[in-house]
């Protein structure tokens, strides 16, 4: 099945400069594994959202993707 990943500018260093990617994955794949397979290190992932009903909803690492899901990946919050 196919999912679509959009990344913020920070992550483009890990995706060959691409802001959006199409990914072919097998059923039952947790979202964190899908994002990781796109080249983004797990420790760099802050939040992953899935667009549902025109809303960005946060999902946890183990959220199981379904065909056609549209994801957005955000970096972790930094600071002192």
């Amino acid at each position: 099945m196919k999912v679509y990943i959009e990344v913020t500018t920070w992550f483009k260093r890990f995706t060959g400069g691409n802001a959006s990617l199409e990914l072919e994955i097998s059923e039952g794949t947790p979202v964190v594994e899908a994002v990781s397979s796109a080249g983004i290190p797990k420790e760099e992932i802050g939040f992953i959202t899935v667009i549902k009903d025109n809303e960005n909803k946060i999902v946890d690492d183990q959220y199981i993707l379904t065909d056609g899901d549209r994801l957005k990946v955000y970096p972790a919050i930094i600071g002192g």
Partner: protein, 584 residues
């Protein structure tokens, strides 16, 4: 003092124009930095007197590893806060730590009040008391420029100074350090003003040979490589902390329009990427830091009719963009930089300024205050009004602005609107509506800052809500940061400076501490802070949380007021047990 068995303290009496230097072996058990500063504050503070009484002290201290290791760049200031009435603690980078180290002082205690506006010069062999009457009224930039021209020591010098906000003793006035860095929070600038102290110039020009260079350099290189060759700190240099705007806005944690919203509809236009694309022209570093996280934006603005333009450079980071951007509904990088510059020139804390104006805007909308009082119409996004209002606060233009200059808590005492005065224990909130740990962390933190225990970070990492885990983690982090701040590292590098690294660094410069001793130092410092807070009358259980925190959903969802108070109660019990354990 490196390689010595004492802490060298410079005492300055501004009333008598006298100084003395003491080598205090007894302070070594506090290591340095915030530990030494806390003990000196405890010795010199006058709980019975107003925070702005001339007999209250200002303490500065550097740490046990200042300047000689990468990213150990900060100086800590401690004082009685005019904003909260209790523990005042603030940190600044720049060159100040390096100059104190190379001038040969671990700590400075300033007492008394000058008879006329003055500035102080500190060097290895001399302390000067100089007439600053001609500088009174000057902005932060102006006074910095004039002292740079008048005083020697360029390149080995740090100049810290106040603007009109400090002179007029706004409760959240800042002290500007070497341009772009600040003792921002809790009103140190007002304490300077109360002493007729406009500025301090410090020159550090001695050489400190490193003993056992081979061991030292090995540890130095390991730390340097971790800082520069790994991803741990690269975000701080690249986009900088404004990278936070995008994720916080996406997950509903960006305080917007006085926290009436948790998402800003113009978030994308004020993101770190937007600032980088449109305004970023330069990155700078504090002395001794190979990262360079200080982001400078260029602002071109019209200063007169007839196409008269100027270009100015303005420092920006996440907290400033939140406070003067989303929190006030300001939607472009140019407008935010314009507001930051006014705050800078007036010498106020940017975070408190934004949050105070957020309260004033909502109070104006709800007709608790009138335009006769505000002079200009306050509305979210109205940059022209905000620019005037910031100046009015700094100059205490009328009765209303005199109250507003004492912070949102005080303003809501006088005019109402307590439920949307976004303070935590009287200190204006930071830019994270992330969940219980952020709210409770600031409420229980020794200085009520998000940096006391990093609650916002805990909200992010905690997978499942767990009351005990929140309280235990906040408590452990508060103690650990007491130890870290006794060094005094920049907390951006806290993942680099783990216990093993700290011990290796200290051991390589002859400070043979153990892991257990570091733990004991952190606990000793925290207990001293808690003793000071108690002496100043602080009661953890009397802290009231504004209702707005529980009306607007956070990143972690809707928060329940009862649970927040329960967590504060649990933390308070932990503190009582912690203090009782000392007496057993």
């Amino acid at each position: 003092m490196i390689y010595e068995k004492y802490i060298r303290v410079l005492y300055i009496d501004m009333t008598e124009n006298k100084i003395r230097i003491e080598n205090r072996a007894d302070l070594c058990e506090y290591l340095g930095g915030v530990g030494v500063a806390t003990k000196l504050l405890e010795e010199n503070i006058k709980p019975e007197l107003d925070p702005l009484h001339e007999d209250q002290p200002i303490i500065f201290a550097i740490g046990a590893a200042s300047t000689v290791f990468p990213v150990v760049t900060k100086t800590v200031a401690m004082f009685r806060s005019p904003l909260t009435g209790e523990l005042g603690e603030s940190y600044a980078g720049g060159r100040m730590a390096m100059t104190l180290f190379l001038a040969g002082y671990d700590a400075v205690v300033i007492l008394g009040k000058a008879k006329r506006p003055s500035y102080i010069t500190i060097s290895r062999n001399d302390v000067g008391f100089k007439d600053a009457r001609a500088l009174w009224g000057a902005t932060s930039d102006e006074v910095g420029r004039i002292i740079r021209e008048r005083e020697p020591g360029g390149g080995k010098r740090s100049i810290i100074r106040i603007g009109p906000g400090g002179e007029n003793m706004s409760s959240f006035a800042s002290v500007c350090v070497d341009t772009y860095r600040h003792f921002g929070r809790l009103g140190l600038g007002a304490v300077f003003g109360s002493k007729n102290l406009k500025a301090i110039s410090i020159v550090g020009d001695r050489s400190v040979p490193i003993k056992n260079f081979k061991d030292y350099f090995k540890v130095y290189q390991e730390i340097y490589n971790r800082v520069t060759d790994t991803e741990i700190m690269s975000k701080y240099h690249d986009v900088g902390t404004p990278i936070n705007i995008e994720p916080l806005n996406a997950v509903g944690g960006l305080p917007t329009k006085n926290l009436r919203q948790n998402v800003f509809e113009h978030g994308e236009s004020i993101s770190g990427e937007a600032f980088a694309q449109k305004n970023l022209v330069r990155k700078m570093a504090c002395t001794g830091c190979p990262v360079g996280c200080i982001h400078i934006g260029q602002l071109r603005r019209e200063f007169d009719k007839g196409h008269e333009y100027e270009v100015i450079s303005v420092g920006y980071d996440y907290e400033l963009i939140f406070a003067l951007g989303s929190f006030l509904g300001v939607k472009t990088p140019n407008d935010i930089l314009d507001l930051i510059d006014v705050v800078e020139q007036m010498g106020l804390d940017a975070m408190s300024t934004g949050v105070v104006l957020g309260w004033a805007t909502e109070a104006f909308m709800k007709k608790l205050i009138t335009e006769e009082q505000t002079i200009v119409p306050l509305a979210f996004g109205n940059v022209a009004s905000y620019k005037k209002a910031i100046e009015y606060m700094a100059y205490k233009e009328n009765d209303f602005y005199s109250v507003l200059a004492q912070g949102a808590d005080k303003a809501s005492d006088v005019y109402g609107g307590k439920e949307f005065a976004m303070t935590l224990a009287k200190n204006e909130m930071a830019g994270y509506h992330t969940g219980y740990a952020a709210v409770v962390g600031a409420a229980v933190g020794a200085r009520h800052s998000h940096l006391c225990n990093g609650g916002y970070s805990l909200d992010q990492s905690m997978k499942e809500f767990n009351k005990e885990k929140i309280v235990d983690t906040l408590f452990a982090e508060e103690k650990e940061r007491c130890m870290l701040n006794s060094l005094v590292i920049c907390l951006f590098a806290r993942k680099v400076y783990d216990r093993k690294t700290i011990l290796a660094a200290l051991n390589s410069i002859g400070n043979n501490l153990t892991d257990e001793e570091l733990t004991a130092i952190g606990e000793r410092i925290y207990r001293a802070k808690l003793r000071i807070k108690k002496a100043l009358g602080f009661d953890q259980m009397s802290v009231k949380l504004p209702k707005r925190f529980f009306e607007t959903p956070s990143m972690s969802g809707q928060l329940d007021e009862k649970i927040a108070y329960e967590l504060i109660g649990m933390y308070n019990k932990k503190i009582e047990e912690f203090m009782a354990a000392e007496n057993r």
